[in-house]
Structure formats: C-alpha cells, structure tokens
C-alpha cells in the first residue's frame, strides 16, 4: 500500500499553518510544505510532489475550491487526494466540498493532538476507495 509521506498544506492564516505543520510533522512524522495562498500552492506543488494536499476553504483571492480546480489541471498532481479544512461545517457545505472531489473535510477548530490520525484515516479510506474502484 502506498505510504503517506509528503503533505502540502495551504492556508492564509499563519497560526493555523504553524500548528498544522507542528502536529503533522511531530506527531504524524510527515514532511510538510506550507503555502499561504492558492497561487503559491500552484507555484510550489509540482516541485514538492505531495502525496496529499490539505486546502483551506476560505482564502482571499483564490479560495480552496478554486485552487482544487486549478490543481486538477496540472497533470503531475491531478490525481493527488485533497482534504478541505474549514470552519464552515454545515452538512450541506461538507457535501458540496466532497462533491467537488475532496476525499475528506477537517473541521476547524481541530485538536492538534488528533489531527494526524484524522488525516491518516482519510488517506486510508481514499486508498481503499481507489483500490475498490480499480477492481470493478
């Protein structure tokens, strides 16, 4: 099974970038690259080659959904799973994010202590879903 090692995290809020990187690096053992905007993510994503991308939904300029659509146009990362991170947690909104192609939604605020386990769980589900659809 493919291992999760490299995660690109995109969020305009510096505090959230810092605590996310700490939680995923120190507790999850992942390699994290942080970006403060969708545009910066698009510029850096191919050089970093992430296994997974975590996108904040509400960002000034290019928001999370727009960034996801733009990422899907880049051949090198078009298939990389994306998790949205958001404080908007209405059931309908979560359904909309999943319909856009996200493999999961992390709600803000989150517990740094459990974030890496939550992300790992979403990654595993995505791998199983991908393997399952490949066997059909």
């Amino acid at each position: 099974m493919r291992a999760l090692k490299r995660i690109l995290h995109v969020d305009d809020e510096a505090d959230i970038r810092a605590v996310t990187a700490l939680a995923l690096e120190a507790l999850g053992g992942y390699c994290i690259e942080s970006c403060d905007s969708g545009r910066q993510a698009l510029a850096q994503v191919e050089g970093f080659s992430p296994d997974l991308i975590i996108l904040d939904v509400m960002m000034p300029g290019m928001d999370g959904p727009a960034t996801l659509l733009a990422l899907r146009q880049l051949n090198a990362v078009a298939e990389v799973p994306v998790i949205f991170m958001t404080a908007k947690v209405q059931t309908q909104e979560i359904a909309e994010y999943l319909a856009l192609g996200a493999c999961g939604v992390v709600t803000k605020p989150f517990d740094p202590q459990t974030l890496s386990a939550e992300v790992a769980s979403m990654w595993q589900k995505t791998l199983f879903a991908t393997a399952g659809s490949g066997n059909e």
Binding site: E13, D15, I16, A18, V19, A21, L22, E25, A26, L27, I32, S34, M58, P60, A87, K108, P109, F110, D111, P112
Partner: protein, 118 residues
C-alpha cells in the same frame, strides 16, 4: 518547519503564546470595526464593515479553538454566523449584534490577559 530540538509540547506552547500575542492586534482590528459600526446608525457603511468583521471572526474561530481557547472560538463563531446572516439579508447590524461583538471583545481581552500572565 517545526524545530526537532524542542519537544512537541514545548513547540505547541510557543505557538500558543504567539497566538495569544496576536490576539492584541486581532482585538484592535475588531474593536475598530465595532466603533465604526456604532458610528454608522443608518448602516450606509455597514456592508464593508460586516464583511471585514466576518473575515476576522472566521479566522479567529479556527485559530482560537485549535489552540484550546474554545469559549473565544465559540463567541467568534457566533459573531461570524450573525455577520453571514446580515450579509445574506443585506441588513444593517442591530443593537443586539453590537452587544455580541462587545462580548467577543471581552473574551479577547481575557485571553490577552492570560498572555500577560505567561
């Protein structure tokens, strides 16, 4: 990113302190919007002000809760949700909305006070 020479808890404590310090400027920004809303009885300037307040409280909701300041996060979320309703309805804030913002400012002052003690 994170400094491997420091333990996770040490680094989290430092980030928490940095967040508490950032609450001073966050509070100043929200207070400035609050005062402008108070001085805008006909609501002519309120859309831009409420959008600004909505953006700031949205950021505060996520950051405060992630650093363990749940009451502040909850209060920021209440203000954000109220801002969203006002923007959807194209309505100016009412006195009860300003009271809610005032309560948020009190919460911010409390966490800034915690920062001063640490």
């Amino acid at each position: 990113m994170s400094d491997p020479s420091k333990s996770y808890q040490d680094q989290l404590r430092l980030l928490r302190l940095a967040f508490l310090e950032s609450c001073v400027s966050r509070g100043q920004l929200i207070e400035a919007v609050y005062k402008q809303l108070q001085q805008d009885p006909d609501g002519s300037a309120s859309v831009a002000l409420v959008q600004n307040l909505c953006h700031e409280t949205h950021k505060l909701t996520g950051a405060a809760g992630s650093f363990g300041f749940q009451p502040l996060s909850d209060m920021a979320r209440q203000v954000e949700q109220r801002c969203t309703i006002l923007l959807t309805r194209h309505a100016a804030p009412e006195a009860s909305d300003l009271t809610l913002v005032d309560k948020l400012l009190q919460q911010i002052r409390e966490v800034v006070h915690i920062a001063g003690d640490q």
